[in-house]
């Protein structure tokens, strides 16, 4: 009876191991391919120069600046909101109340909405509705200033996309604050808000930072939401105000790979741009993983 199962056992081991190995191989192949492909082109000059000669030569400096501006504005808008939502969900809300459950459901739903739908929302809400409203208020609708895609609308769209990332991460961090600390603070006569401000938030700062970094990494890698809310094909100048369009690394990879005038000749630039994007997101992800690791060790 047992012998019949022996082969199944081998098969189960083999198949599960194979699946795991497949993932490992895929990751290694992609990384190796992009590193090897971009290694010869990437240089200090590539990072600090603008694209020249119809984007067939030069570097990606404006795209890097645009990406940084995007994630900075995005974090300024998204991280506080996400943190406060996490505080509400873990400190104030009774987890069975209908309000808390609705917000939690909204956060989960938000995490599952396709990125391109966020792009449509950004276009329909920020550009077409808020922007148009602003133009009407400021210039009476004569001048189209805010009702054009720009870096502000793109960043705000992206901050909505990354909101669930921040909320989940901060909530996890807040949960690691020991209950005794809260109780000690309350027992000393501190009010609830004082406890949150002086005890809970300082103790979960690492988690808030982790959430912010993960959100930034996600935001730096997403392209779909900014396709029509502010990213530009090529700009001779860096964005100087919130109502300017901007270049972005991921978008740059996309257009260089699909819409470049000479796709074969710019292969090196495409690889190098992808490598820069990959290094950026990995750097961010690794610091987030490191921080989370430290956080978990603190809890243990």
């Amino acid at each position: 009876m047992y012998g019949r199962f022996k082969y199944t056992g081998v098969a189960v081991y083999g198949l599960t191991g194979l699946a795991a190995a497949l993932i490992l191989v895929a990751v290694l192949v992609i990384i190796a391919n992009i590193v090897i492909g971009g290694w010869n082109t990437i240089s200090w000059e590539f990072i600090t120069a603008s694209p020249t000669e119809g984007m067939t030569k030069g570097g990606v400096f404006p795209a890097i600046v645009g990406t940084f501006l995007l994630v900075i504005i995005m974090s300024l808008a998204g991280v506080p909101v996400g943190t406060i939502t996490a505080i509400y969900l873990s400190e104030y809300a009774i987890s069975t109340s209908i309000l808390a459950r609705m917000i939690r459901f909204a956060v989960n739903t938000l995490a599952g909405v396709p990125a391109i739908v966020f792009g449509l929302f950004g276009l329909g809400f920020f550009v077409q509705f808020v922007g148009k409203g602003l133009d009407h208020l400021l210039t009476g609708g004569v001048e189209l200033h805010w009702s054009q895609p720009n870096i502000l609308w793109a960043s705000l769209t992206m901050s909505l996309l990354t909101l669930p990332v921040v909320i989940v991460s901060v909530e996890e961090a807040i949960r690691t604050v020991p209950g005794e600390l809260r109780e000690a603070s309350l027992a000393l006569g501190a009010t609830k808000w004082q406890t949150i401000r002086k005890v809970v938030i300082p103790h979960s700062l690492t988690g808030i930072l982790t959430g912010g970094i993960l959100a930034v990494s996600r935001g730096a890698g997403e392209v779909a939401p900014i396709l029509f809310t502010g990213a530009a094909y090529f700009l001779p100048h860096l964005p100087s105000s919130l109502s300017d369009q901007f270049m972005e690394l991921g978008y740059h990879v996309y257009i260089m790979a699909t819409q470049s005038p000479d796709v074969e000749a710019t292969r090196g630039i495409q690889y190098a741009t992808t490598l820069v994007l990959l290094l950026l997101t990995f750097g961010l992800n690794f610091s987030a993983i490191y921080l989370r690791h430290r956080l978990r060790r603190m809890r243990a």
Partner: protein, 384 residues
């Protein structure tokens, strides 16, 4: 801490009571005179409730965003169903421009002329209703938004999305679930320490990077291997897409496996079952709701992903069930065409309609994964 005042004790006690119900009630504060602390208490309470209400208000943003997405994505799609008078006028104008076979040399006109010639029979039969986004037009089998007789048949896009999603899921589901099983049951410590970061790295790949890899490398490799007629096709897109879906399925399945009480595993092992028997006959069935949730979330990711399919599927809106022909998915259609449409035109509205459909689908998927599957999982373990 000048705010520390005996009057606070009651306040603190009350808040403690709401959150930690098991702390014994300190009685003395009840005897305090209300007059000596009432002013202070009021001030404190004002600050407290201000904090609480602002926090509450801000945390409603997530909910508000969902509602706003509903409103604003649908708002831009609404004119399709409540047509404005001037929209037909634009079409009239468009048709006059390119109706006759004018010797105009612009590319778009040429292509429309060719397209018009090929579909001349269907043009004649459907007559004047063309170009308007009637239900008949939307349910058609041809997606030709930029032509003399624009056709907004969503069927090729829906089929395309289904094809790519199906391929991605057929690869990602077994790989994700099996590797999760491997990591949580069989893998030695060192293998876990390699695999978990590998999955995190895979999840951290920007989708445009996967799309780039598929476009440049994967497509050529697969064409050389299998001799496809088209370099970019649904299969290449699906394989690339599965790379983005695997981390989700893996993570959710692994969570479900980890949340199974240890007692179940131990009981199975104590009864003489081997490790793999336990994994196959005890752990996997116990985690079924979690695995379902993983699959649903995976489907949600697969059909909503834009950049990978935009770069790797060839983007031809063909109505066919052939897996190695180019396809155009719903998300890629929005991504590729939204930048070129005129705001307020029918084409623009139709793209928003596609977005609305995608939003509704992802919303439903999440609701099912959340309310049905997770709750069931919880019940199962609480009940046992």
């Amino acid at each position: 801490m000048n705010k520390d005042h005996p009057g606070d004790i009651k306040e603190a006690r009350q808040t403690t009571m709401t959150s930690k119900a098991n702390i014994p009630k300190p009685l003395p504060s009840r005897k305090r005179e209300p007059s000596d602390t009432s002013s202070l208490r009021n001030r404190f309470r004002f600050g407290e409730s201000l904090a609480e209400y602002s926090i509450k208000t801000i945390s409603f943003i997530s909910l508000a965003v969902i509602i706003l997405i509903f409103i604003f994505v649908f708002r831009e799609a609404a004119p399709l169903f409540f047509p404005r008078p001037h929209s037909t006028f634009t079409n009239e104008e468009l048709r006059q421009e390119t109706y006759g076979e004018e010797p105009d040399t612009t590319v778009s006109v040429k292509s429309t002329a060719i397209a018009g010639g090929r579909n001349s029979t269907s043009l004649e039969t459907s007559g004047g209703g063309e170009g308007e986004a009637s239900l008949k037009n939307l349910s058609g089998t041809v997606w030709q938004p930029v032509s003399a007789q624009p056709k907004y048949g969503l069927l090729p896009l829906v089929i395309g999305t289904l094809k790519v999603t199906l391929i991605a899921m057929l690869i990602a589901a077994p790989v994700g679930i099996l590797s999760a099983l491997f990591v949580s049951v069989f893998a030695p410590r060192w293998a876990k320490e390699i695999l978990k970061p590998a999955i995190e790295i895979l999840a951290g790949f920007p989708s445009v990077v996967i799309g780039f890899f598929a476009l440049i490398v994967l497509a050529s490799v697969m064409q050389n291997l299998f001799g496809f007629e088209y370099r970019l096709n649904a299969l290449v897109g699906g394989v690339a897409l599965s790379l983005a879906v695997i981390p989700i399925i893996f993570t959710v399945t692994e969570d479900a496996l980890a949340s199974i009480p240890r007692a179940l595993t131990e009981a199975s092992l104590a009864l003489g079952a081997t490790k793999w028997q336990t994994a196959l006959y005890v752990l996997l069935p116990a985690a079924t709701p979690g695995v379902f949730a993983a699959l649903l979330l995976g489907i949600g990711r697969a059909f909503g992903e834009t950049m990978i399919v935009l770069m790797a599927t060839g983007n031809a809106a063909l109505l066919s069930f052939n897996l190695v022909e180019p396809v155009r998915t719903m998300s890629a259609t929005i991504g590729a065409e939204m930048a070129e449409v005129v705001f307020g035109e029918i084409h623009y509205n139709v793209l928003f309609l596609i977005g609305s459909i995608m939003f509704l689908f992802s919303f439903t998927l999440n609701a099912v994964a959340e309310l049905f599957v997770r709750r069931k999982l919880m019940q199962r373990f609480k009940g046992s």
